[in-house]
């Protein structure tokens, strides 16, 4: 089989039958239960917490409050640590916070014998607050006199950056006569990952005195570092184990509650403590996609040339920095990388603290936001000059050979234009654009599109490092250990295929160890940035080559032949030239273990420090039907076309795209976290937070354009995150085509659409004209 085949998931049977163990399946006996107590104000100070009544309840073991935790601020994002202080993540929270920065901030924790006792105790805590005016928007946060959310950031601005490209300024570019100018604001809301397994961990102190944490995380090695930082103890004193996990999408690329859980087990003498969030807590108190506001100004020539653009982007961070400014900086880069301006591009972006839910990593890391602002603008620009939006894109979009002038990331392979061609043909773009141009009546149809590009991993912005270990067994089978994590995307399967390919050993003899244990698993920063098949894949290839060499060296010794004349093919040692089988690998492996002349346990372990990157790209094309009087959008046909290099496992790749498209559909049409005027979450449950159901999901079509990428270990590049990116702007643009109404914020929810259609004169009172 090897790579490029539809090899069946190695965990398929275990997951279908329920044999696969997740964190909650592994609880030790007599495990205590922790419950976090959250603030019921969004901005202020905890003055006092009365714990007496709660402590008196039967079953309550320990209550800790924000007054009891170490005076240490720590960072939570799952970035590789930087040894340079200026590049380190923002440390702006404690295990429990006396200074309340959003509704639901962690102010106390209860450890009890069971959930009911913990919940009853939590309800009995009496909290005295000093309350400040809630700050619910970046504008309010930056207004003079606004209260300071973090004393280290007196103006509430976490960071501001910007860049300019071109030979002149935007203002100078505008002096050209005859330019058509567009000025608009676009907005995207807070949404959440909604991974099926809520954040859960259990922690205990082992007999070797290590604090051991079993957690549903994407980033076990980073969790170890952050727990050490948060508790002020050596990182080696922490052991993190990651079993199977039920999805992460970036929310588990943040170190959310493992540090608190480690602290709680310390407080109860090392007894095991489980800390599992409810869905409501997950929605209100973990991480979410940042709300962003785009203020854009752009000028085009009537021939369709994009002359100049200027954009200001505000990212609403919420109460804590988490991944912080990196996300809006990514969004800003999409403006730069995806289109070329003939004369000038000016971008400024800022990340601003507010008293709302905390923005963090979520599939696409700022690009879904940036792509909405950008691709809505591109359609609006095309409309300004009455040009087909496909042609307008083709004329101005990023071309083969592009290299980012700042970070020097390139398209080592380029398939964007082919993706556009494929999508255009699939949706019958030209026919539908013409057919739907002049519609009347309450039900109208339209087609729309959006494109994107996305880098693979984080080099050179952050460190890219990965390590792998391979151990040969007596029967010629091999354990493969990586710090890279399986989070549902199929990493273990693809690593199995890669190992088979590089080793010459069939997949049935390859055991990728799914569980990471930071005490024994080689270092890797984990699953994020669509990096593992690229970055960790390189570590696997490097290690595999070393293992093969060691096997052949030993086989050469046994066979009394030069190792260079041998090869390992399908579990056999063969003559490299003739292919003749000389000895089975199993025999050689057994010999290596037990030889009285020369016993050696053949293993290999290598680190790959990846100093390369490459852009993936793609497009979404969609056909919609809009029921104008009801404000409903029905997706009739949708296709994502991806330029992600060679596909390591086409079926898994397709499944990955399906999931991303589903996420994009929710972002487009229904999902949004809402807050009241005090900053209290309104819809922090899956009834009121409108994640689409299977009934809302159309058939999802996927096309791949497979251009081999020389920089990838097997010609591959990013695919994990990209599918979620282009769907929302494509749907927005299709609704524009169907109705002529440009909706400039997400989601395209019915109430918003009804208002927009009414303002545009498409709906009249009593439904006159639309029987």
């Amino acid at each position: 089989m090897g790579v490029y085949s539809n090899f069946k998931r190695v965990d398929a049977t275990g997951k279908v039958t329920g044999e696969a163990k997740y964190t909650d399946d592994l609880l030790p006996e007599r495990c205590l239960v922790a419950k976090v107590v959250h603030s019921t104000i969004s901005n202020g100070l905890v003055k006092k917490i009365h714990t007496e009544k709660a402590a008196a309840l039967p079953g309550v073991v320990k209550i800790v409050t924000c007054f009891d935790v170490p005076d240490i601020q720590f960072p939570t994002p799952g970035h590789p640590w930087s040894v340079e202080e200026s590049h380190q993540d923002v440390s702006d929270r404690k295990l429990l916070n006396q200074r309340v920065r959003f509704y639901g901030d962690d102010i106390a924790a209860i450890v009890a014998e069971d959930e009911v006792s913990a919940a009853r105790a939590a309800a009995l805590l009496e909290v005295e607050y000093e309350e400040y005016e809630p700050i619910l928007s970046p504008a309010a946060a930056m207004a003079p006199g606004a209260s300071v959310i973090h004393q280290e950031y007196p103006g509430n601005v976490l960071k501001k950056t910007g860049f300019k490209l071109g030979d002149c300024t935007y203002a100078e570019a505008l002096k050209e006569e005859g330019l058509v100018r567009l000025r608009k604001n676009y907005e995207v809301p807070r949404v959440q990952h909604c991974h099926i397994e809520v954040p859960v961990s259990f922690a205990y102190i082992d007999v070797n005195q290590k604090i051991t944490i079993v957690s549903s995380t994407q980033i076990p090695h980073i969790v170890r570092r952050v727990v050490g930082q948060a508790l002020g103890i050596g990182w080696g004193q922490i052991r993190v184990i990651k079993p199977y996990i039920g999805g992460g999408f970036g929310n588990k690329q943040d170190v959310l509650y493992e540090p608190l859980n480690a602290f709680l087990t310390q407080q109860v003498g090392g007894r095991p403590v489980k800390l599992e969030l409810s869905r409501e807590e997950t929605l209100a108190c973990t991480r979410m996609r940042h709300r962003m506001l785009f203020s854009v100004d752009a000028a085009v020539r009537s021939d369709g040339t994009l002359v100049a653009r200027k954009a200001e982007i505000l990212s609403d961070q919420g109460g804590y920095a988490s991944h912080g400014h990196a996300i809006v900086a990514n969004a800003a880069n999409e403006f730069k990388q995806l289109y070329h301006d003939e004369k000038a591009l000016e971008i400024d972006c800022a990340t601003v603290y507010t008293n709302l839910g905390v923005g963090g990593a979520m599939r696409g890391y700022g690009i879904p936001q940036g792509d909405f602002g950008l691709e809505a603008m591109i359609d609006d620009l095309a409309a300004c000059i009455d040009m087909d939006p496909y042609e307008f894109r083709l004329k101005n979009c990023v071309k083969e050979g592009y290299e980012d002038p700042h970070n020097h990331i390139k398209f080592h392979s380029y398939g964007l234009e082919k993706c556009m061609e494929e999508g255009k043909a699939f949706i019958h773009w030209d026919e539908r654009r013409a057919e739907y141009a002049q519609q009347t009546g309450p039900i109208r149809r339209g087609v729309g599109m959006a494109i994107f590009c996305y880098k693979t991993g984080v080099h050179p912005i952050s460190l890219e490092t990965a390590a792998c270990r391979m151990i040969l067994n007596q029967d010629g089978s091999v354990q493969v250990q990586l710090g890279a994590t399986e989070i549902g995307q199929g990493a273990d399967t693809v690593f199995t295929q890669m190992a088979a390919e590089v080793l010459g050993i069939t997949e049935d003899k390859i055991y990728v160890i799914s569980t990471q244990d930071t005490d024994v698993t080689p270092f890797d920063t984990g699953a994020y940035a669509s990096r593992q098949s690229y970055v960790s894949g390189k570590a696997l290839v490097k290690t595999g080559k070393v293992l093969v060499k060691r096997i052949l060296d030993y086989a050469g010794e046994v066979l009394a032949r030069p190792a260079e004349s041998l090869a390992l093919v399908k579990n056999q040692i063969v003559d490299k030239d003739s292919g003749k089988v000389l000895r089975s690998l199993a025999e050689v492996a057994t010999e290596a273990f037990y030889s009285l002349q020369h016993s050696v346990h053949i293993t290999a372990e290598e680190t790959s420090h990846c100093k390369d990157n490459t852009f993936a790209s793609g497009a979404c094309f969609v056909e919609v039907e809009v029921d104008i009087p009801l404000g409903q959008v029905k997706v009739l046909k949708i296709v994502n076309v991806h330029d992600s290099g060679k596909l390591l496992n086409p079926q898994l790749a397709q499944a990955q795209v399906h999931g991303g498209m589903s996420m994009g559909l929710g972002y487009a049409l229904s999902e949004e976290l809402l807050y009241d005027e005090k900053g209290k979450p309104l819809n922090d449950n899956l009834l009121d937070y409108k994640l689409p159901t299977a009934m809302d999901t159309p058939d999802l079509h996927v096309i791949f354009v497979e251009e081999e990428d020389e920089s990838g270990p097997f010609g591959n590049k990013a695919l994990g995150e990209p599918p979620a990116i282009p769907v929302a702007p494509a749907i927005r643009n299709a609704v524009l085509h169907a109705t002529g109404v440009a909706v400039d914020s997400l989601p395209l929810a019915p109430q918003k659409l009804v208002r927009a259609f009414t303002e545009a004169g498409l709906i009249s009172k009593g439904g006159e004209g639309h029987v």
């Binding site: 069971d114 959930e115 009911v116 919940a119 009853r120 309800a123 009087p629 009801l630 404000g631 229904s670 809402l674 009241d676 309104l682 819809n683 899956l686 009834l687 009121d688 409108k690 689409p692 159901t693 299977a694 009934m695 809302d696 929810a749 019915p750 109430q751 009804v754 208002r755 009414t758 709906i763 009172k765 009593g766 439904g767 006159e768 029987v771």
Partner: protein, 295 residues
């Protein structure tokens, strides 16, 4: 883990009534799809429950000799949808309750629970309103028959007394024979929704299918309880079945409904949906009876 004070499994209706009387403040539970949610949320934490789950005498649908359809309060939504009597005589009810939540909820949740929690968004509510359903309840003081029109007593409230159990819901022959109806539910998703607005329209056409003999219009989530639009209904009787009448209905209902403004949906938006749905439900109900409205 649920924080329950106590739970008593009743063996019969009389047993349930006695348990309710002896344990003041306790709550009835059948399918549990509303009650358990409230326990989990903490609103009913520590509650004492009396369970009528699986009481055979509360289950099933039957047709009486006089044509009255009797629906046991413990009949689940999916049982109602799949029931032959419902499908033959009052299909609109089966269609309406088939829009509750998702399959798992419909396999467990009961029509009795749906009307006894008193919420305006219950998918069965507007349909039972147009069928003039009669609620039969039993308590310490005996059996009472209560018209659905007298059933609701404000937001999430009914006239059911603390020691009463809803036995069944009855629909008389004269309220369904010759009628066709359409229930339309507006949710932001196609499943797993509580109605943002619900509209049920029941019509009986004249013999030549040209005129509206009788028309009944009810809404959920257009006021604190499900409600009927009596004035619109009255004004439509004997009107021709045509586009003008459809438009007339969509305008007139706005005078009779009082939807709330909330973060879930604005008053203005609910009115737009109500207006449009009244029209569409009317057109579809007419079509089911062989009438035609030229759209």
């Amino acid at each position: 883990m649920y924080d329950l004070g106590s739970i008593y499994q009743a063996r019969a209706i009389e047993d349930a009534i006695r348990a309710l009387r002896e344990r003041p403040g306790s709550k009835l539970i059948n399918g549990g799809t509303d009650v358990l949610v409230q326990v989990r949320e903490g609103r009913l934490a520590g509650v004492s429950l009396v369970s009528i789950h699986n009481l055979e005498e509360l289950k099933g649908v039957r047709l009486e000799a006089d044509g009255t359809i009797v629906i046991g309060s413990g009949t689940t939504f999916s049982q109602i949808t799949g029931n032959a009597i419902i499908q033959k005589y009052i299909p609109m009810l089966g269609e309406a309750v088939d829009q509750v939540g998702g399959p798992q909820i419909r396999n467990v949740g009961t029509i009795g629970g749906n009307v006894c929690n008193g919420v305006t968004s219950a998918d069965s509510g507007s349909t039972l309103m147009v069928y003039n359903a009669v609620m039969v309840v039993q308590g310490s003081e005996g059996i009472r028959h209560i018209s659905i029109h007298d059933w609701y007593a404000g937001p999430s409230k009914t006239v059911l007394k603390p020691d009463e159990v809803l036995l069944n819901i009855q629909i008389r022959k004269e309220d369904y024979e010759g009628y066709t109806g359409q229930y339309l539910k507006y949710g932001k998703r196609q499943a797993m929704e509580i109605a943002t607005l619900g509209c049920g329209v029941l019509v009986k056409l004249s013999a030549d299918k040209e005129k509206a003999g009788d028309i009944r219009i009810a809404f959920g989530v257009a006021g604190p309880n499900p409600l009927r639009c009596r004035q619109t209904e009255e004004a439509c009787r004997q009107r021709p079945v045509n586009r003008e009448t459809a438009l007339f209905i969509s305008e007139q209902v706005l005078r009779e409904i009082k939807p709330r403004d909330s973060w879930r949906a604005s008053k203005e938006f609910r009115e737009q949906i109500a207006s449009e749905y009244a029209k569409r439900a009317f057109i579809q109900a007419v079509a089911k009876q062989g009438g035609e409205i030229d759209a």
